[in-house]
């Protein structure tokens, strides 16, 4: 009986290869730098291609608010308040034929903050409708008024493998601290969140 049969060597090689595969698979902390992400930059009102899937996303308007409330809240539901400021990003998404990768919307700033969308109310979301349809909706973020300069909406696809992909970055038009302060001062008292509205893509 030989100790080093071809099968034994193959199994050994397989383990070595598996070690390499762990580098490809997995979330941020496994695959470190985002070298395989093409960044699609845009501004408010511009329809931006999402990850080559034929789908587009457009930010139609942003609103700053002190409180938010769901449109179908009952009488008992209090509006959500904040010590910071709410940023409501109204979007319009047109779905292509190919199912777009799922993504997690965040707001990023020059100061390095990353704002996640609020967990409540559930109307705050951004998602693509079925193929052939388009929808409009709103996604709300709670933000720190002291760090709003360079506010940018970031839609980064959550990938399992490091295939070549693209992410969307929409400049929300807050180039300086002074403008940020002005927008915070002009924040509306209450922003009412409506559900997404879906229509046939024309």
């Amino acid at each position: 009986m030989k100790l080093y049969r071809p099968a034994t060597i193959l199994v050994g090689l397989l383990f070595v290869l598996l070690g390499g595969v762990t580098r490809l698979a997995g979330p941020d902390h496994v695959y470190g730098e985002d070298q395989n992400l093409k960044v699609v930059h845009g501004t408010i009102g511009e329809a931006l291609q999402y990850a080559g899937s034929g789908s587009t996303v457009k930010v139609t308007r942003i609103k700053f608010a002190r409180t938010i409330v769901s449109a179908d809240a009952s009488d008992d539901d209090k509006p959500f308040e904040t010590n910071g400021v709410f940023v409501a990003v109204e979007w319009d998404a047109v779905r292509g034929v190919k199912d777009p990768d799922s993504f997690n919307p965040t707001l990023i700033t020059d100061g390095g903050s990353v704002y996640e969308k609020v967990s409540d109310p559930s109307e705050s979301r951004i998602a693509f409708p079925d193929a052939g349809f388009a929808s409009t909706g709103v996604v709300v973020f709670e933000a720190n008024p002291a760090d709003l300069k360079g506010l940018t909406l970031r839609l980064k696809p959550s990938m399992l493998f490091n295939v070549y992909n693209s992410e969307i970055r929409v400049d929300l038009g807050v180039p300086t601290e002074a403008i940020a302060q002005q927008m915070v001062d002009g924040a509306v008292d209450q922003y009412v969140l409506n559900d997404d509205v879906t229509r046939v893509a024309s």
Partner: protein, 211 residues
């Protein structure tokens, strides 16, 4: 055609492998049996004393991405009704502040960061997550002042205690081991116990009626 040397080598290898076959088989069987016995008797649990500080409420604890200030605890009793069984939950109130200066990312207090320590060798009870402003798992924004939050633990319907202990776990901002083929970019991971907070709970009856 194999050479004589190879044939002899193969024969020797054959002998060596088969010589103590019975002993090997017995040994493996013993290890398997031992593993089964350990599993059946409740696993391999090392009993250790508490290695983190125990604090009396109100207490401020800095753990991982958050700074907590524990204020009070309530044992909420829901009496048995025609339609539902009696239920008891342990509700703990605290303020939480996002102090994640590494990533400056909004984050919610996830359910495994706060645990109820029943004591007496019983298993820890996970919370249901940080409930702030009426929104469960509300994401706390870095740089904003602390938020009033609460969290709930499931306990037995007849649960009663003069004092409850809540364990606080904190994550660490560190990288994985690069020699294992992982990226050396650090991230928040690997929560470890940071402190235990003792609170004196008050009993509250929730009969579904508004006060």
């Amino acid at each position: 055609m194999e050479s004589l040397d190879e044939v002899i080598d193969a024969m020797i290898a054959d002998r060596v492998i088969h010589r103590h076959r019975r002993i090997w088989l017995l040994l493996i069987a013993l290890i398997v049996a031992a593993a089964l016995v350990i599993l059946a008797t409740g696993g391999w649990k090392e009993k250790k004393g508490r290695t983190v500080p125990t604090l009396e409420a109100p207490a401020t604890v800095t753990a991982g991405r958050f700074e907590y200030n524990f204020t009070k605890a309530e044992i909420v009793r829901k009496p048995k009704t025609e339609y539902s069984e009696a239920e008891t939950t342990l509700k703990v109130y605290f303020t939480a502040k996002n102090i994640d200066s590494e990533e400056q990312t909004s984050e919610s207090v996830s359910n495994d960061l706060l645990v109820f320590v029943p004591g007496g060798g019983e298993d820890l009870v996970d919370s249901n997550g940080g409930d702030c402003k009426g929104g469960l798992n509300w994401v706390l924004v870095y740089g904003l002042p602390p938020e009033e939050c609460s969290t709930k633990f499931k306990v037995a319907p007849d649960f009663a205690a003069d004092m409850v202990e809540i364990g606080v776990l904190g994550e660490h901002f560190k990288a994985d081991n690069g020699s294992l083929g992982l990226s050396e970019k650090p991230y928040w991971q690997g929560e470890t116990p940071t402190a235990v907070v003792r609170l004196k709970p008050t009993v509250v009856v929730d009969d579904g009626k508004d006060e």
